[in-house]
C-alpha cells in the first residue's frame, strides 16, 4: 500500500518522535509513504481563528499538491488532519468559495482526496488481527487511557472515522499490542490546545483534570495522536500527578520490536523509562 504523507511543522520539531515512529511502524506494516511535494504549513488554529479564507487556502495549497499524486494522504498530526478535513468540507459545500480559493492558490483543488489519520489506516486498512500478528513483545502491564482530544473527531460529520463521544479504535490498537487499556470518560475532552502560551493557567487546569481522571481510571500512562495534546500533557500538569504520555505509534513500535523507542522516549519531558522498566518492557 502506498500513501502520500503530510508530516506538518510539529512533526519536524516538538513532535519529532511521532514522525519517526509513524515512519517506522508504516515501514514494518508495508505502507510506503511519499511526502507531499513542497508542502507548507496548514495554518493550524491561528489561521482559522483570525482569517477564514487564509484557513482554507493554506490547506488547499497542500491538498492541490497531494491531488497530483492521487493517493490517499496520511496526516498524523491531529491539528493538520482537522484543518485538511475542514478545508475539504468548505470547498465541497461552497462552490463560490472553491472558485475564490483556487484563484488565491493559483491552481485547482478538487477537495475530494481521502485524508486519513494513521489510527484509521492502521486499524482499518491493515486490520487489528494483522497488527496483533506483528507483536513480538506484548505490552503486558501497560494500562493506557486513550486520549483523542478535540481535533481528530470533531466536528463528526467532517472527521468521521471513529465514534466522536466514545471512540474505540485507539483502545483496540492498544489491545492488539497486548496492553490493557482502561476505560474513561475524557477521551475527547480538550487540553486547551494553543492557549498554552497565551493562557498557561487555563491549560494547567485542564491537563491536571485529565491526569487526575486517568489515575482514577486506573491508568499508568496516556496515549495520544496529537502533538499539541502531547506537549500540553507531557509538560504542563503538576509534577505530583503526572503520568507518562506516549504517541500511540511509539508503543506500537515498542511492541513490534522495532528500533527507535529508547531514543524517542529520551525526548519526552516526563520520563517514561521508570514505568517501562518496572514492567520489563525496556
Amino acid at each position: 500500500m502506498k500513501v502520500s504523507y503530510y508530516p506538518g511543522c510539529s512533526l519536524h520539531a516538538t513532535g519529532k518522535e511521532y514522525d519517526q515512529s509513524v515512519k517506522a511502524v508504516s515501514r514494518a506494516l508495508g505502507i510506503e509513504l511519499a511526502e507531499v511535494n513542497d508542502w507548507s504549513c496548514c495554518g493550524a488554529s491561528s489561521a482559522h481563528m483570525t482569517n477564514y479564507r487564509l484557513s482554507v487556502a493554506l490547506p488547499a495549497r497542500n491538498l492541490a499538491s497531494a491531488e497530483k499524486a492521487g493517493l490517499d494522504v496520511m496526516v498524523p498530526c491531529a491539528a493538520c488532519f482537522n484543518r485538511f478535513k475542514m478545508a475539504q468540507h468548505h470547498l465541497r459545500e461552497n462552490g463560490a468559495l472553491k472558485k475564490e480559493i483556487e484563484e488565491i492558490i493559483g491552481e485547482s483543488c478538487r477537495g475530494d482526496l481521502a485524508v486519513r489519520n494513521p489510527i484509521d489506516v492502521f486499524s482499518k486498512d491493515i486490520g487489528l488481527e494483522k497488527l496483533a500478528e506483528k507483536v513480538t513483545r506484548k505490552l503486558a502491564g501497560l494500562k493506557p487511557v486513550s486520549y483523542y482530544g478535540c481535533l481528530l473527531l470533531r466536528p463528526p460529520e467532517v472527521c468521521e472515522f471513529d465514534n466522536y463521544e466514545n471512540p474505540v479504535l485507539l483502545d483496540k490498537i492498544m489491545e492488539a499490542m497486548g496492553a490493557e487499556p482502561r476505560n474513561w470518560s475524557c477521551k475527547t475532552d480538550c487540553c486547551g490546545g494553543s492557549l498554552t502560551l497565551g493562557k498557561t493557567d487555563i491549560v494547567i487546569r485542564l491537563v491536571d483534570k485529565l491526569m487526575t481522571m486517568a489515575r482514577e481510571a486506573g491508568a499508568n500512562c496516556l496515549v495520544t495522536a496529537c502533538p499539541v495534546c502531547m506537549a500540553n500533557l507531557d509538560m504542563r500538569p503538576r509534577e505530583e500527578i503526572r503520568l507518562p504520555v506516549f504517541y500511540f505509534t511509539e508503543l506500537m513500535a515498542l511492541a513490534m520490536g522495532l528500533p527507535g523507542p529508547t531514543e524517542w522516549f529520551k525526548l519526552h519531558n516526563t520520563d517514561p523509562a521508570p514505568l517501562l522498566k518496572s514492567l520489563a518492557l525496556l
Partner: protein, 174 residues
Amino acid sequence: MGAFLEEVNRRIDGVPIQRCYHCRKCSAGCPVAFAMEYNPNKVIKMIQMGKRAEVLGSSTIWLCASCETCVTRCPNDVDIARMMDVLREMVIEEGLGAREKKILKFHEAFLAGIRSGGRINEPMMIARYKMTTGDLFSDLKMGLDMFMKGKLSLISPKTKDMTSVRKIFDRTKK
C-alpha cells in the same frame, strides 16, 4: 438593533444563531467556560440584543479554544465555534484591539512564521511571540531542555516555492 445579529449571521453563512433556544448544553460542555466572563450561549443572547461593544471587547471570544464541543452537541446545529472565529475576525478587521492581547500576539507570531518560511520553525516562532509580548522568561527552562535533547533546532527546511505562499497571504489580506 438587529444589525449586529445580521452581520454575524451573514459572516457565519450557515445556521442563523437565533435558532438557539438557550438549553445551555454548549456552555455546560465548554472546557473553558469557567474562565469566560460570558458563557457561549450568553454571547448569542448579547448579539441578539445588539451589544456589539461588549461582545467584541470580551475575553470570551479569545479564550474559546475552538474545541468544537459546543457545535457537536447543540440540538439546533448552532455553530458557536465558527461564531467565535467570526467575532475575532471582526475585532481584527476593525482594529478594535484584542481583550486578550497575548493570544492574538501568539496567532500573529504563528502566521508571520508561515509567511517567512512556509513552515513553522517552533523556536523562532516562540522567540517572535516572546519579543512582542515581553514575556521572556516563562517556560525558558522547558525550551532549553528541548534544545539540549536535540528536539528543537533554529534552522529547519522551508517550503521551496515561497512565492505561492506569499501570494496566499497577500490575496487573503482584507
